[in-house]
Symmetry: C2
Subunit: 317 residues, 2 copies
């Protein structure tokens, strides 16, 4: 009946992705490593229609990234005009990876609705063409996006149940960010004197991160992830004009995570292209972390997530 | 009578200095450019004594940097045991360049008290051996610290009266910083993947900054100074363990300076190894800048400075 609904969760990179190779298909300059969340979810329905129409969070929009993506997909597959409806249960374009869950869900819904019969790797490759980090949201738990298989697609490296970490998200602003990731990555590549050192050091962080995950070594993963996060924000700050994604509450929340660490709590921070702080912690530390972060001045709210599944099709009830 | 009192002012680097060459005499890895302030002042008295004694802000202290400095100085000059009394009218070791004004004043007082008859360049070289940035506080107005003269010493590049800028300092914390500059610089050099790109790019910033000052081109100087500041903090964040000198109010104050810029106010920010924001502005913008920064949540107080003179001897009254 040429329609389907998919659900997909955002993912948070522990070894960050910031910078693309030259070209149009979103090939990252470096490998990356992530965890896919539960709780936050994007629900995307597609159906055949008279003309393309995109509705996000209840509003009809013109979205260049989605339109470009459909052009690419139609060059490979025969697809009719589409009506797309996508909604998030969390703030969109605010550093909570809505484009990752958005494109992972969109591709999964299209694949199902029009019987494209893609393999999971093919879905990851296609999701990546929409948004680099979307490749990882095809998978649950811990995922790696790298070029190991020849083409750049993600793969699952550890399922969520094997190491059920928690993530406390401290939301410090719900505003849409000033500079989107695609534009920001381009700026960093073109203007930061630190760009080549960033891409070099990320390769070894990725290898070290994979090893820490396979050994479930929390403190090593903490150190690799915080370093990768700070090097990425350093790269952003050294771009011209500089990319400022932090606000005051971001910095105070990081300081609070560092205090918790000093007190022996198993937690580390990571921050993406936005002002929200994600505090990754061992299961038994989640309550104290959530309570402390909720009390940081400037934190609007906290969201507590576990690790979630990859993108999947909603079964008709 | 073998005693003297000198006054010296801290200076704020517009093209930053972070990183030393190998060795013991504080040779910077890169050239730097600064403005010497008025208003903030360190008053340092030295006199012959029975044994070395150091008193800072009314407290007898044991200060390794000063002790090492006296050892070096005595290897070149015959000096008796000294009583040193130094006091600041501003917070010490909190990112307000108290070691710059401290060593510039100490050296100037010793030179006078014991008739060492140093040239101004020799005083700058000796001050540098105590604290790298102290070399610049020997001079007023705009100063450059570089290796152009063969030895690394500062030189005046434009007197204060030629371009009387104002500096509004937003004090966001009066705590002593966790990691001092000497230690921090060593850590960045040893651990940051961005260190060599930092030293390379600072050389061209220094040349561009000198040219902007000679042309009194405020907006060019603003862009060079902000970029140098952010690249230095990016270097600090990318060190291991990371060097965090910002707090939440630091970030909110920078955001306020950027809002003022968008509204056409002639102001730019710079931040040193500490959480204070220095807003450098054209004379006629000082009032609005001071008012706006005083109202940023987390700003404890603002200090308004003009550009001041180099270190000088207090004449007996």
């Amino acid at each position: 009946m040429n329609q389907a609904t998919a659900l997909a969760h955002p993912n948070i990179a522990l070894v960050k992705y910031w910078g693309k190779r030259t070209g149009k298909t979103n090939i990252p300059a470096t490998p990356s490593l992530s965890i896919t969340l539960d709780t936050l979810v994007t629900r995307t329905s597609v159906r055949e229609s008279e003309r393309d129409q995109i509705e996000i969070d209840g509003k009809v929009v013109s979205d260049e990234k989605i339109e470009d993506f459909l052009v690419q997909l139609r060059a490979a597959y025969s697809l009719p005009p589409l009506s797309i409806e996508s909604s998030n249960n969390f703030p969109t374009s605010a550093g909570l990876a809505s484009s990752a869950s958005g494109f992972a869900g969109l591709l999964t819904a299209i694949d199902t609705a029009f019987n494209l019969e893609m393999s999971v790797s093919e879905r990851s490759i296609w999701a990546r063409k929409g948004s680099g980090s979307a490749a990882r949201s095809i998978f649950g738990g811990f995922a790696s996006l790298d070029g190991e298989s020849g083409d750049w697609c993600a793969r699952g490296v550890l399922p969520a149940r094997a190491w059920p970490l928690k993530v406390v998200i401290a939301v410090t602003s719900e505003k849409t960010k000033d500079v989107g990731s695609t534009q920001g990555m381009k700026r960093s590549k073109q203007t930061s004197p630190y760009y080549s050192a960033w891409t070099e050091s990320t390769k070894s962080d990725h290898a070290a991160g994979l090893s820490a995950i396979s050994q479930q070594d929390f403190s090593r993963l903490a150190s690799i992830a915080e370093s990768s996060c700070l090097k990425m924000h350093a790269l952003m700050l050294s771009s011209q004009p500089p990319l400022f994604y932090w606000n005051g509450a971001t910095v105070e929340t990081i300081a609070t995570v560092r205090e918790l660490q000093s007190a022996g709590v198993s937690v580390f921070f990571t921050v993406d292209a936005g002002p929200q702080v994600k505090a990754v912690c061992q299961e038994d530390a989640a309550d104290i972390v959530a309570e402390r972060l909720a009390n940081v001045p400037g934190v609007l709210k906290t969201l507590v997530c576990g690790l979630g599944p990859g993108a999947y099709v909603d079964q008709p009830r």
